[in-house]
Symmetry: C2
Subunit: 279 residues, 2 copies
């Protein structure tokens, strides 16, 4: 069974190195990529194709692991050449996954999502898959992969990842808003402490990393929440995800001085951060 | 030291029984109350005053534990007779606590909040206190109480309780909205499972009880969120608490058929409930 990777970033290089070590036949194409990427591909010693078209024509399972912005484009480009099964493993919304996979002319497709960190978990990282060819993709578990079939519909695997991450972002926004109020009243430490008592072990640590990550990644989080809202709006008013989305937009603007207000979230971020380093 | 309780509901009866068992001198007034309440007071064998005025005049520490609606009224009524320290332990917002305590003419006041369940924890339940006479109230710890001083300002103790419970309600709303979308896509079980993986042990169980409690207590939660919004609006846009408040209002309307829509949260409540009983 020939396995091909479209794109050769962290996901592709980690998974292909793992698959090769288990004796799988793995190819990619690094034409036009940086010297560093080419060097990495040579080091791992996987087969190199001259073009994505050649890769698509020769793979039994072709895995698209490009950047979110390239996911649709690359599917469009090689859609008519893909002779085997085409798996979109990119971090995109269900509707974008459907769009990308609609270009695969033989219809042998599935939508996959990585849950957790490829860097930390390597070949064993949890991968969810849904769609007509989910089962065939899961055959790669024979090489030590950890692929879990969710259902038959394209978009389900992407939706699980998106909803999970939207819930997490919502908690961060809630926490930020709550602790900011608490801080203004001089009771931020106590509120965090008593929330931690209800929410259980480890909440305090994760709360701090959530506050930091909210501030640092506010732009990306605001963008991702736009996709979530599109998804959640299909079934409800999406009140909470809309508020989360707006919260991150405002946080980004405030941190970057675009929106200046006396209530500047920046100070709470800095203060909570400092305080918790001490404790 | 004479301790008096204004009101004789669960909080007063539990705490006074505990205090009496430790040898404290405890009084209340049950004039005009039900036979059941009078019977309970006799059973516990605490001192009975003829009126709240007499109770206020004879207590060194007077604890107001009435219903939230009576908190201001009772303070107004006995404000000029309270000769000792007056503690408001009612479940009210910081601004209502300030209002109530403003009627205590000698100014010997503090604002207290019960964190957790009096029924479960008895005399040892965690009580937060803030205000000028917080320290004097905490002297009751000699009788086995668990009173923790937060600060010198009236309202801080109430604010901690309110912010903590608003955060918890926000999580419930987020969870409900997220799982409803997931349910519509046939992936509610999976989304709950993968959120639980990030959120840690016990999340699944607490998620289910949060969904049930959201639906059952939607009206009360919507009302409580109004008070939270008032508090949080002082320091930010209160985007998340506003969304939480609106979420519970809508949930209440939908569950009670006031607002009929094809997207009825009732079904997700029933389904998740059923599913989780099986698993």
């Amino acid at each position: 069974m020939k396995i091909g990777f479209l794109g050769f970033g962290e996901v592709s290089s980690t998974l292909s190195a793992g698959l090769l070590s288990k004796g799988a036949d793995v190819s990619t194409c690094v034409e036009g990529r940086s010297l560093k990427t080419k060097g990495l591909a040579k080091e791992i010693e996987l087969n190199l194709c001259k073009s994505n078209r050649e890769l698509a024509e020769s793979s039994d399972i072709l895995i698209s692991a490009v950047t979110p912005f390239q996911a649709v484009e690359v599917a469009k480009e090689i859609g008519k050449y893909s002779k085997g099964i085409y798996i979109d493993i990119n971090n995109i919304s269900p509707s974008r996954a459907k769009e990308a996979l609609s270009y695969i002319e033989n219809g042998k497709t599935a939508d996959a999502s990585i849950i957790g960190s490829v860097r930390k978990n390597g070949l064993n990282v949890n991968i969810l898959v849904s769609g007509p060819y989910a089962k065939q993709f899961a055959e790669l578990n024979q090489y030590g992969m950890n692929i879990n079939i969710i259902g038959n519909e394209i978009g389900q695997a992407s939706a699980i990842k998106l909803l999970r991450s939207s819930f997490t972002k919502g908690i961060s926004a809630l926490l930020f808003e709550t602790l900011y109020s608490a801080y203004k009243m001089g009771i931020d430490g106590e509120v965090l402490k008593y929330i931690a008592e209800t929410e259980g072990e480890g909440f305090r640590e994760s709360a701090v990393s959530r506050i930091i990550s909210s501030a640092v990644h506010s732009k990306r989080k605001a963008e991702e929440m736009e996709e979530v809202m599109e998804l959640i709006s299909k079934s409800s008013d999406a009140k909470m995800s809309r508020a989360t989305s707006e919260f991150f937009k405002q946080l980004y603007n405030e941190i970057n001085g675009i929106e200046k207000r006396p209530e500047n979230y920046k100070e709470i971020f800095e203060l909570i951060n400092k305080k918790n380093r001490k404790n």
